[in-house]
Symmetry: C2
């Protein structure tokens, strides 16, 4: 598929698609071809890649909305709060990341297909 087609599917912009796919390409999960007949194709075993891998390929962005932003804040109150909560933040993030590691793209695809079939049956009724 081309970036334009993907963008239409996702309701976004071809350039945004390229920006995001760039990370997946660098990780080797997809390939891109320029020119006529070009576009994107999957380049990995879907059962060997997890959402954890995707997460890492996209730059491991922050998962928590709150947390320790400044390493050594000058505010002593902020320091006390950080001491109290840093382990909790770390554990929650680790939990999330480990859960991402349990979801393969193949599992997602299977679930998607099952639901698409159900969707089709429902529409035919």
């Amino acid at each position: 598929m081309t970036s334009g087609e993907l963008a239409t599917c996702m309701g976004t912009n071809p350039v945004v698609v390229r920006r995001t796919m760039a990370g997946l390409r660098e990780a080797g999960f997809v390939r891109s071809e320029k020119g006529h007949g070009g576009g994107w194709e999957i380049a990995c075993d879907l059962s060997a890649v997890t959402l954890r891998d995707i997460y890492d390929a996209l730059g491991a962005p922050t998962l928590l909305a709150i947390g320790v932003h400044i390493e050594s804040p000058s505010c002593l109150v902020e320091q006390a709060v950080n001491r109290a909560l840093t382990p909790a933040f770390a554990e929650a993030e680790a939990l999330l990341i480990s859960r991402l590691g349990t979801v393969t793209l193949a599992a997602l695809a299977d679930d998607f297909r099952r639901n698409t079939a159900a969707h089709r049956i429902r529409k035919e009724e």
Copy 2:
């Protein structure tokens, strides 16, 4: 302390302080007095109030940066991802909230005082 003094301490604005403190006042954790000699004072037992209570009083804002935003997305792929990750998000959030419940304001204050003492000794050296 007045909103202005608190704002100076926190490097922010008196109105922002009032906006935030309003939640704590409604929960009964602080009291405010208008007029001459007015300002804010603590109105709770610090050992009986946890960061969980503060979190709730401030409107229980989102703790996770990612997660399910649309309840029933039309995108079947998004639906599959949601089915795969919703429990993980819920668990991570529950973990964080339960940890907030283990930190009392009194514990924070104690830790703050210990560190302030150490800070003072370090400066006197």
